[in-house]
């Protein structure tokens, strides 16, 4: 495979290789590699799976097997620029989390798992964010939004338009 046809850039490849010495097997670098690729591309398409497999000296099927187990990684098309997880587990649900998820669905015009047509936001439900002390909660990228209300969701959606 020539460099021009590669999907994974040299720096991503380098970052994956840098993880090798940490583990007794190359297969153990699968999750870190998937995270690095997912972070860069927003998803892990089949071409990337093949290239990761080559780096880790695995078959593409081995990488695909792991990839498809973790619902976290997108496979068909990139996630939106912002990924939002609204918690629907018991502590949040008891304080209105499911209603807020439904409210956010309506505001964005998409269902959980979908991305807005402009590619801005991917909405997901989460199975317990571990933020029960701030329920209801949602995670936006790396930022936790605490003690959610409809007003806070309105503000969040407005902030996306800017």
């Amino acid at each position: 495979m020539s460099t021009a046809e590669r999907l994974l850039s040299d720096d991503v490849r380098q970052a994956i290789r840098a993880r090798f010495p940490r583990y007794a097997t190359r297969q153990a670098v699968t999750l870190p590699a998937l995270h690095l690729v997912n972070q860069r591309l927003g998803y892990v398409p089949p071409e990337a799976v093949a290239e990761i497999a080559e780096l880790l000296e695995l078959t593409p099927a081995q990488v695909q097997d792991t990839l498809s187990f973790y619902g976290f990684f997108k496979q068909d098309k990139p996630a939106g620029r912002v990924r939002v997880w609204v918690c629907r587990s018991i502590s949040c649900a008891a304080r209105g989390g499911e209603d807020l998820l439904e409210y956010l669905c309506k505001k964005l015009g998409i269902r959980p798992g979908e991305t807005t047509p402009d590619g801005r936001v991917t909405l997901e439900f989460a199975e317990c964010l571990g933020a029960c002390d701030y329920a209801p909660a949602m995670l936006v990228g790396d930022t936790l939004h605490k003690d959610l209300t409809r007003e806070k969701i309105d503000e969040f959606v407005a902030s996306l338009q800017q």
Binding site: A24, A28, L31, F69, G71, F72, S89, I90
Partner: protein, 450 residues
């Protein structure tokens, strides 16, 4: 417990509590210095064994005993896996430790690695904790700088590398064998035991898997001693020769319908009522509580009448719950329907079942479909018997699954039906008085034509 001075949470209100300098100024890494100078690894194992420290992650297995299963004189490598995949619904206390006092956890990791002769430790951290990732990584970096990690720690013949390994949002990775498989880069399907991880774990080498809070406790046992640790908590039940007691401080999470949700510390054995009243400021909106989940969703339900149960390793068992679990209590008020709880619980476990064992994969799915039908007003009284049958049939207690998380899926069903049958029956009778299911006719030929 107004007189009790928190230990695990002693630092969290200080400014920059997550930084090394602040941790050291409060006596941090003092225990490590002393242990490396004065104690052999075997001494540390013995110290933890004598303390009767039990794992804080859910199962409550004695930590010193777990360590003692490592084969003696093994050429290595030995691995320590830190279970920071805190995914049990209602549970968040490890997050508080990692975000606000990560060095306390890392000191415990170093001490435990010294004891178990591990030279590499992996912190398996759930994806949903980005701030924990940032704080733990910064703390690990500080430790390498300061000589607490790396080669020849504090000038002694002891080296340790610590790596953070990020999960990808799968509940089953919190099961120790699932965690190990996931770390190895595979789907997180728990392995059949034996061999236990102490004999054959990560990369088929001897491995110890310990929870974050458990490791933080090791720090304090090393610092304050076994006697201090055993002065807190509940002593063993003299009538139960297998009860090792419930010693030490515990972090209790409190969430749901309570005025002041949060992470609180008390000696093991505080009652559920004390926790809600004294720490949580009572049930919200001046309501009464109907029930609590005593220690994460898997542990089932405790009714209001059972609130005086001590939250130690044996208390919740005595009222028919799965156990202490994570010690994270979720309060449900009098207006919250048990059917909603049951739906939420079954939906969670159906979503998170890893799919390896048929009883769990199929049982959780059927349970959630039945509850959806009941909610839609098409329930039958005998559905409760069917649900009960599912609850009784999945898990390692009936012996049908590989891992214990299936028991956690079963327990909420068993407790909801066992303790709130009247409420569930009322709902079914009210919404479907005829008591039979109306099914839509299906055109057989049309279905074949498709």
């Amino acid at each position: 417990m107004p007189t009790y001075q928190p230990v695990l949470l002693a630092n969290i209100h200080k400014e920059d509590s997550h930084k090394l300098a602040v941790y050291e100024s409060g006596g941090g890494y003092r225990a490590l210095r002393r242990v490396l100078k004065e104690k052999s690894p075997q001494d540390v194992v013995e110290m933890v064994r004598l303390s009767n420290l039990r794992g804080r992650g859910g199962a409550g297995f004695p930590t010193g005993l777990k360590w003692s299963f490592l084969p003696e004189g093994h050429p290595g490598p030995v691995y320590l896996c830190v279970n920071a995949d805190e995914s049990e619904p209602g549970t968040f206390v490890n997050r508080v430790l990692m975000e606000l006092d990560p060095h306390q956890v890392i000191e415990g990791i170093i001490l435990s690695s010294y004891a178990t002769k591990a030279r590499t430790a992996y912190i398996y951290l759930r994806y949903e904790y980005p701030l924990s990732l940032q704080r733990m990584q910064a703390a690990v970096d500080e430790c390498y700088q300061a000589g607490y990690l790396g080669k020849r720690i504090l000038g002694r013949d002891f080296s340790l590398d610590v790596y953070i390994h990020r999960g990808a949002a799968a509940y089953v990775c919190g099961e120790e064998m699932g965690l190990i498989e996931s770390l190895e880069g595979k789907r997180a399907w728990p392995r059949i035991k034996p061999p236990f991880p102490a004999v054959e774990g990560l990369f088929r080498k001897p491995t110890v898997v310990n929870n974050v809070e458990t490791l933080a406790c090791v720090t304090h046992i090393a610092d304050r001693g076994v006697e201090w640790f055993k002065s807190l908590g509940t002593p063993p039940d003299p009538h139960d020769p297998r009860d090792p007691g419930s010693f030490g401080p515990k972090l209790y999470g409190l969430s749901g319908h309570v005025n002041r949700p949060g992470c609180y510390e008390a000696p093991l054995g505080i009652t559920c009522r004390q926790l809600i009243e004294e720490f949580g400021g009572g049930v919200w909106k001046n309501r009464q509580a109907k029930a609590v989940i005593p220690g994460g969703l898997s542990t089932g339900l405790m009714t209001e009448a059972e609130f005086d149960t001590p939250l130690d390793f044996s208390g919740p068992l005595k009222v028919g719950c799965l156990g202490l679990g994570t010690g994270c209590v979720v309060v449900l008020d009098e207006t919250y329907p048990i059917l909603d709880f049951l739906y939420n619980s079954c939906r969670f476990f159906a979503h998170e079942s890893c799919g390896q064992c048929t009883p769990c994969r199929e049982g959780t799915r059927w349970a959630v479909e039945m509850i959806e039908r009941i909610r839609a007003g098409r329930g039958r009284l005998k559905d409760l018997e069917l649900l009960q049958e599912i609850g009784d049939s999945i898990g390692i207690i009936p012996g049908t699954t590989i891992c214990g998380l299936a028991d956690g899926a079963a327990w909420p069903i068993k407790n909801a039906i066992g303790k709130f049958r009247d409420e569930l029956e009322d709902y079914i009778k009210r919404t479907n008085p005829e008591g039979y299911i109306v099914t839509e006719p299906v055109e057989a030929l049309a279905a074949i034509a498709d």
